[in-house]
Symmetry: C2
Subunit: 140 residues, 2 copies
DNA sequence: AGAAACAGGACTAAAAAGGTCTTGACAGAA
DNA sequence: TTCTGTCAAGACCTTTTTAGTCCTGTTTCT
């Protein structure tokens, strides 16, 4: 059957998250604690340095990595790998888990008060977050 | 901070799934078991009839609803609401849960054999599916 | 001061999602 | 049979999101 609507993959992480994970993994495993410049990371994870720089800005402002400027500048993990969980990482690059809008933005749901679905979605979101929090960078 | 990269919402279901859920809910609660034409459903859930028709084609080929053509044609649920779970619905409109590509497509992961992450992603996917399967159309 | 690194914003390109249009197949009623 | 109203299917267009570049500035070390 052909409907004209495309089905792809549900809940798939996007490319910037993919790169973020690879970059963090590189920092965690190959260069424990050291300051590494973006060019090296980009080369290691096979990404464009300019793009990866943007991604690391997100990670930096989320507090997952710490940047230093200047001639020997670069990035390093702000915390040991086992203290950085997957929820934080994904949230830094993609925003919070929401599944259904009305869970996050109450006003977006025109059935707020009567809506049984509301509670369900909230639970789904909670469970996903919980699961993601149990996985740390070290596990990857 | 401004990076030029946008963060929105993680794991958010898209509009066609939203409409699918509303449509199914309408069939389940307002018109139990009856054949209802797409125009009525569209009106009830405030969606374009043409677009909703496409969405219901997906649901139909997934076996969740049954269509009948002709002058008194339309759609009805193939099974009672408590036998239709959320995973089936989301999968019908958005495709399978995958989170990370390499879970679904082994070849896409260049680290297939050594990759510890591989196992992790598989578990995440499994847990999400499990959770979604426990929620049925009736709960919504 | 100068070189080498990140910061930040504007901008462009590519891909995905959302949505329309047209034609055909089917089923029932006159 | 033929007409009418429904879904089926595919091609097509538009809008939104994601991916990625470019340029200019700021910081820090030598």
């Amino acid at each position: 059957m052909e409907t004209g609507l495309k089905k792809s993959r549900m809940f798939k992480i996007n490319r910037k998250t993919e790169y973020a994970l690879r970059g963090l993994r590189y920092l965690a495993s190959s260069r424990k604690g050291e300051v590494v410049m973006i060019r090296e990371i980009a080369q290691a994870v096979d990404a464009s340095p300019v793009f990866l720089a943007k991604i690391f800005q997100l990670l930096s402002s989320a507090g997952l990595v710490t940047s230093s400027r200047g001639v020997i500048g670069g990035f390093r993990l702000s915390r040991p790998p086992e203290k950085i969980n997957l929820r934080e990482i994904l949230e830094a690059t993609e925003g919070p888990v929401s599944v259904n809008v009305c869970v996050v933005d109450e006003d977006a749901c025109d059935l707020t008060n009567t809506c049984a679905a509301h509670k369900i979605w909230r639970n789904v979101r909670y469970s996903i977050n919980k699961m993601l929090e149990q996985i740390t960078l070290k596990d990857l």
